[in-house]
Amino acid sequence: MEAVRQALAPYYLELKAIHLFAVMAWIWSTSVAYVYYVVPVFKAWRRNPQDLEVIALRDWVMDRFDRGVIIEHIAFPVIIVTGPLLYWVGGWDTSATWLTLKLLIIAGIIVPIECFDYHLSHFAGNKRKAAARGGPEERERKLHQHWWFLLLSTPYIIFFLLIIVFLAVTKYGIST
């Protein structure tokens, strides 16, 4: 293992560049679609919960959003692979306070959010698959679940992504 680490060490900055590209795609790829398409139609639906035109638009936008998050969900595994690689190749350990806090946020908050997001977008929670499996009722149930997920995860994404990027850039250290 040490030989592999030594072999990868000269490529630390290249690994970091890949990690950063993936982080940028992960953070921003869905932001416009979410803020300017998903949120407005869900607001319209909450104001007019029985309006069939609004429901049709909401369902269509959600279907497209389920597809659109593919960019984010390709980028995330790249981050999850390159992040620990950077940690290992760069010789980092838990003595770096900024990194400890960042990893706690990623492991305990971001990874669970992303796992649930994969489930809702691509697996059993996918609205198209839910409709095929259990009809309109099941689709509606999954759509409500997805909207709960988006409502709950939005403040986490805003707050903790700012902290993660701040910590990664400043490498803020606290001495004893």
């Binding site: 607001k43 319209a44 400890t100 709950l152 403040p155």
Partner: protein
């Protein structure tokens, strides 16, 4: 498209959003503080985590995050939050669908 059947009611309410906001703010910060305490104080024997600046910062951050959660939940749910000034324009459109 599921436009044939009436939509069932979404289960979000103001009381539930308020409760969830506190839960998210306090729960998340409790997890982070305990995690940092175990790693920094117990493992590395660093005392900064039990001094007042760290504790005050964690408490302030928990309050700010709880507030952000509540504002975000409420503004996302237009039944109570923003979005009331939008016009609802009825129009006939064709929505592109991929061939399955």
């Amino acid at each position: 498209m599921s436009s044939e059947q009436p939509a069932r009611e979404f289960s979000g309410t103001v009381a539930r959003y308020r409760k969830l906001a506190w839960l998210c703010g306090l729960g998340t910060h409790a997890y982070l503080y305990v995690g940092m305490f175990l790693i920094e104080y117990v493992w590395h024997d660093r005392a900064w985590i039990v001094r007042w600046p760290a504790i005050v910062t964690a408490c302030a951050s928990a309050l700010v995050f709880s507030r952000l959660c509540y504002v975000s939940f409420m503004s996302g749910d237009a039944r109570w939050g923003k979005g009331s000034r939008w016009n609802m324009v009825s129009t006939r459109v064709k929505l592109p669908e991929e061939r399955s």
